[in-house]
């Protein structure tokens, strides 16, 4: 599949690259000017912390505040990071010039070498490198895709839709048992929607559940798209969902575990996350709906004791924390949901419905809920 892309790159992408490049050059110019002028070279990096995250109630989004941190060369704690930032900025420029993309891990290796004359490596592990790349994203105001960097694929899609992925047409109705692997970059120049009959999107938490739906050809019966994000969905999946929701106007329903982690996944899908608050507008789906599993399902679906997984202390603390999120705080349904979860004292996975019947979830649970419009949003 080695194709040389640059020649056939759409004009929009070229324009985007030019903009990104000018941002990087501007950053370097600033550092050079300060250095030559005997001033302290500084990179301004918007703070990616909870304190610098603002809940935009009107738009239903988590957005990044305006706080910025200075990263100085002449600060003992920041010197190394400053060097790494400049190193990666240079690396990204090379990528853009060459019209290639690299994974996060690839970037780690791209920037990795030994600092001249020492035994010190420029990056001690990938985490360090990933953090610097995120810093660059926010400080350049450019998205990861725009920096020609992608994350590893972790998402699957199947359903009544045909897309074009880098020029290849992909019919998501004919993806066999594996499904279409959602790429890490889901911008329109990579993934374009060609034809879509589906009326809604069902996003499930894990691959195992997704397989159940695929095998039962749920999407065929109910004319929908089924996606999966391997737990916390990566940016590519979120971006794709957002585009399906925004561009095609498909409602997004989420089928997640009944535990604080599931609630958190829903929260991220709907409002955005703290660490990616700067991308919320492109990723968050404020009208995403949570159809289950609900804490009350234990009684409603007449499940047995066997499916109970006791909440541990961490779960309890996390649940209470989630209940405090501003977008859940005034939401009666969610307060009740979390309250019930805590009162139950146990969590349940989507798979627990299998105890009723192998296809209970696809044949009974989801259709009934959708029909009854029984969901939280």
């Amino acid at each position: 599949m080695a194709r040389s892309k640059p020649a056939t790159k759409p004009a929009a992408a070229k324009e985007r690259d030019r903009a990104t490049l000018s941002k990087i050059v501007h950053l370097a110019d600033d550092v050079a000017a300060k250095s030559l002028g005997g001033r302290d070279p500084v990179v301004h990096i918007p703070t990616r912390s909870r304190a610098n995250t603002v809940w935009n109630k009107k738009r239903g989004l988590l957005q990044m505040g305006s706080a910025k941190a200075e990263r100085q060369l002449f600060n003992l704690n920041q010197a190394r990071q400053f060097m790494q930032t400049m190193l990666h900025a240079g690396g990204i420029k090379e990528l853009i010039d060459a019209g290639k993309t690299l994974s996060l891990r690839g970037m780690f290796y791209k920037g990795l070498h030994t600092v001249a004359g020492t035994k010190e490596k420029t990056f001690s592990d990938q985490d360090e490198s990933d953090g610097i790349l995120e810093d660059l994203e926010v400080s350049l105001g450019a998205l990861r895709e725009e920096l020609h960097i992608f994350a590893k694929k972790a998402g699957t899609m199947v359903g009544n839709i045909t897309v074009t992925d880098t020029g290849d047409e992909i019919d998501c109705r004919r993806m066999g048992s594996g499904g279409y692997a959602i790429p890490s970059i889901c911008e329109p120049d990579v993934v374009a929607f060609k034809r879509c009959e589906a009326k809604f999107v069902l996003h499930v938490e894990k691959n195992t559940v997704w397989s159940r739906f695929n095998e039962d050809r749920f999407w065929e019966k109910h004319n929908c798209i089924i996606t999966e994000g391997g737990g916390q969905p990566p940016r590519g999946v979120r971006r794709l969902l957002k585009r399906l929701n925004q561009e095609l106007g498909l409602p997004v329903y989420c089928l997640l575990d009944c535990d604080p982690w599931g609630h958190y996944i829903y929260s991220v899908l709907k409002q955005g996350s703290i660490s990616l608050a700067f991308e919320s507008e492109r990723l968050a789906i404020p009208d995403a709906k949570f159809i289950g599993i609900r804490a009350s399902d234990y009684v409603d679906c007449e499940l047995t004791d066997d499916v109970q997984i006791a909440l541990n202390d961490k779960d309890i603390a996390r649940a209470k924390q989630i209940a405090e999120y501003p977008w859940f705080q005034g939401h009666k349904g969610w307060q009740r949901e979390i309250d019930t979860l805590l009162r139950n004292g146990f969590k349940m996975e989507v798979e627990s419905l299998i105890t009723k019947d192998i296809s209970y979830v696809t044949e009974t649970y989801v259709p009934e809920r959708l029909k009854a419009k029984d969901w939280l949003d």
Partner: protein
């Protein structure tokens, strides 16, 4: 329980009425005078003759102390020769009867296995001085009687106090070897030298003259025409280390830099003959003469007051108060007498016990000036500094000399010094050098007020480690000197200073003063180290950054590198400020110009941050330091002057940061104050000593940077 108890009681036989064994008369037949010498012969441990090793030390110490006292009193710069020669192995049989076995040496000497008859031997100890000599008729008294001397009845600062020491040493020698003491003394070039052989009679506290020789006037025994030599043969043990004769002489040299001491020690294993050590004179002026003072009224107890009243030559009370005490003038004398319901004209003879008590109370109530302090002769800050420098050659010394204070009406003065670094062991407890009236105290450390004052001081504030209730840990020597007209020792062997509150307080103040300066020095050094680490880190990344920026926008990498390097230098300027061309520590600001501080080249001086080559540049021309180095002392420091070392430096400009103590020139160079404008970064390319790994600075044996 009670049943058992009563059972036991019943079984216990009622004690017989004690049989009368002695009558008062029969007991009276045995009751007689005990001579002081007999008492001390039996209790010689009280005088410092507990074991053979300590006995040897005490003998030397008593003789040297007497010599120093005599020389100073006569205004002669002391020149003392101590000679210890092994005479013959002691027959091991006889020894056991004499010396209590299993007696343990004191703490500081615990490294010396002192027990075991085979370990001790017979030595002849001879101490010769250039003092004023002793007139013939006093020789028997001074060397043959315990508690005979000139120093007990006066309040004057001197080493000796009671007049026990040297006679006790002679007595010990006589008892362990049966050999008498030989004294040679000459009082002037025109006078004959007398050689007297003395044997002590313990029961009478008198000495018998065994033989007597009069040498001709023109003998060559004393180069300066006067002096005394005493030879004592005794059973002892010569061993170096803590609590040894060597240590005593070293310490004595520190506290008495005006003395010249020659020490001839018996050959140790490996030596091919007696070894001679010289402690040269470091200052050539005598310490100011200590004045004798009268007792302070408020330092005298009631009993003493009554005794003084009985013995005074004054007729009337007013005269008595004025003449027999210090700080009492006619007005004060009158006030005291009136307060006691007496008058200045009251006849002393008529003052009975009741009146004396009233007088005593009145004295306590009166406002009397503190005793005069010209009776104290401190070592002096500069002299102390020199003594420590000469003896230990550390990196840092600070000394302090407190103003005189008073305990029990007796003036005293505390001096302290701290030596840090150099070759002092880094991981051990600090050593405490204690002195009283310039005499080193080597035993009973933990009983001494000095030790308590050191332990009491919070050394953590001065950047030293200190375990709870312990001595600080580090390459530190702490010196405390107490000068007083009467040093309160805890025992006759004069090993520890008694723990009076006033004394301990003064000691702590002196220590704190020194400690503060040490703290400044250490934190300065710490900062330097930090700054040079900082620079290392900055400089390490500058190359990478320049390259990356060049890759992005084509900025000239070399220019950018230079610019950033200059900035890094500027920002870590503190690392340079304290390093001169040799990478040595220069004095810290706060203690700059302080006469009581000496900072020498630092063994642990951080490597000067290295100017990374990166883009090649012309090597910076090392700027020359202008002006002569301002010496801390007006005299030239002993040994080679700084200039002698300069050529070495010039020929090996790349060497200094790597210099190990062994490579460094001998410790003759003093701190060279340089002006800020003259301080420059060493031009050498050095290896980075630290690197930054996962947020931590770790030492590295790295190759060259860039």
């Amino acid at each position: 329980m009670s049943a058992v108890a009563s059972d036991t009681m019943e079984r216990t036989e009622p004690p017989d009425k004690p049989r009368r064994r002695e009558t008062a008369e029969s007991m009276a037949a045995r009751q007689r005078d005990i001579s002081v010498s007999e008492f001390f012969a039996k209790n010689r441990h009280l005088l410092g003759f507990d074991n053979p090793r300590k006995a040897l030390l005490t003998t030397v110490k008593e003789a040297v102390d007497n010599s120093l006292d005599a020389c100073e009193e006569a205004g002669i710069l002391p020149d003392i020769r101590v000679e210890i020669e092994e005479v013959a192995k002691e027959p091991s049989k006889r020894r056991g009867a004499d010396t209590p076995k299993g007696e343990k040496a004191d703490k500081p000497a615990d490294d010396a296995p002192t027990r075991g008859a085979g370990a001790s031997a017979r030595y002849r100890v001879s101490i010769r001085d250039n003092g004023p000599g002793i007139v013939r008729k006093q020789i028997e008294n001074i060397f043959g009687r315990l508690l005979y001397g000139s120093k007990f009845h006066r309040l004057k600062m001197s080493r000796g106090q009671q007049g026990i020491g040297i006679s006790a040493a002679g007595m010990y020698g006589l008892m362990t070897t049966g050999k008498p003491v030989v004294i040679v003394s000459k009082t002037g070039p025109k006078k004959p030298a007398h050689e007297v052989v003395l044997k002590m009679d313990t029961s009478r506290n008198r000495a018998e003259v065994v033989s007597e020789t009069e040498h001709p006037e023109d003998d060559a025994m004393f180069a300066e025409g006067h002096g005394t030599r005493v030879s004592i043969e005794l059973e002892g043990k010569y061993q170096k280390g803590r609590g040894s004769v060597d240590e005593y002489l070293e310490l004595t040299a520190i506290a008495n830099p005006h003395a010249r001491i020659t020490f001839v020690s018996p050959p140790q294993s490996g030596d091919d003959g007696p070894q001679t050590a010289e402690f040269p004179r470091a200052v050539s002026e005598l310490p100011p003469e200590a004045k004798e003072i009268q007792p302070h009224p408020q330092g005298v107890e009631l009993g003493t007051l009554i005794q003084m009243l009985e013995r005074t030559e004054s007729q009337q009370l007013g005269a008595f108060l004025q003449s027999d005490f210090c700080r009492v003038g006619p007005g004060l004398a009158r006030d005291i007498c009136e307060d006691a319901g007496l008058t200045g004209r009251t006849w002393v003879k008529q003052v009975g016990h009741a009146e004396a008590e009233r007088l005593y109370d009145a004295i306590q109530r009166a406002k009397i000036m503190a005793p005069p302090t010209d009776c104290l002769s401190p070592i002096g800050a500069r002299t102390l500094l020199k003594g420590l420098d000469k003896g230990l050659a550390p990196e840092f010394i600070s000394v302090s000399s407190r103003p005189p204070a008073v305990y029990r009406g007796r003036p005293f003065l505390i001096e302290a010094g701290i030596a840090f670094g150099g070759n002092l062991p880094a991981d051990e407890q600090a050593r405490v050098y204690r002195f009283a009236n310039r005499v080193p105290l080597q035993y009973q450390q933990s009983a001494c007020a000095c030790f308590k004052a050191v332990v009491d001081t919070d050394w953590k504030r001065y950047a030293l480690q200190q375990p709870r209730d312990g001595l600080p840990v580090g390459p530190v020597v702490i010196l405390i000197h107490m000068a007083s007209v009467w040093v309160p020792f805890t025992s006759e062997s004069k090993e520890a200073v008694a723990d009076y509150d006033e004394i301990r307080k003064e000691m702590k103040l002196a220590l704190q003063e020194c400690g503060r300066k040490l703290g400044i020095f250490l934190s300065r050094r710490q900062r330097m180290l930090r700054e040079s680490e900082r620079r290392n880190i900055f400089e390490r990344y500058i190359g990478e950054i320049s390259k990356a920026v060049h890759g992005i926008n084509g900025t000239d990498a070399a220019r950018m590198f230079e610019a950033l390097l200059a900035q890094a230098r500027r920002r870590t300027a503190a690392a340079d400020q304290l390093l001169d061309e040799e990478g040595k520590v220069v004095k810290a600001d706060a203690i700059e110009g302080d006469e009581t501080v000496l900072i020498r080249e630092s063994a642990a001086a951080p490597s000067p941050a290295q100017p990374a080559p990166g883009p090649p540049t012309a090597p910076a021309e090392p700027r020359r330091r202008r002006g002569a180095p301002g010496a801390l002392f007006d005299e030239a420091p002993p040994g080679k002057p700084a200039a002698v070392i300069a050529p070495t430096r010039a020929s090996k400009p790349n060497r200094q940061a790597k210099a190990t103590p062994a490579q460094r020139p001998p410790t003759t160079e003093r701190a060279k104050p340089t002006k800020a404008s003259e301080r420059i970064a060493p031009p050498a390319k050095t290896k980075p000593k630290y690197r930054y790994v996962n947020g931590a600075i770790v030492p590295v044996e790295g190759e060259r940077l860039f």
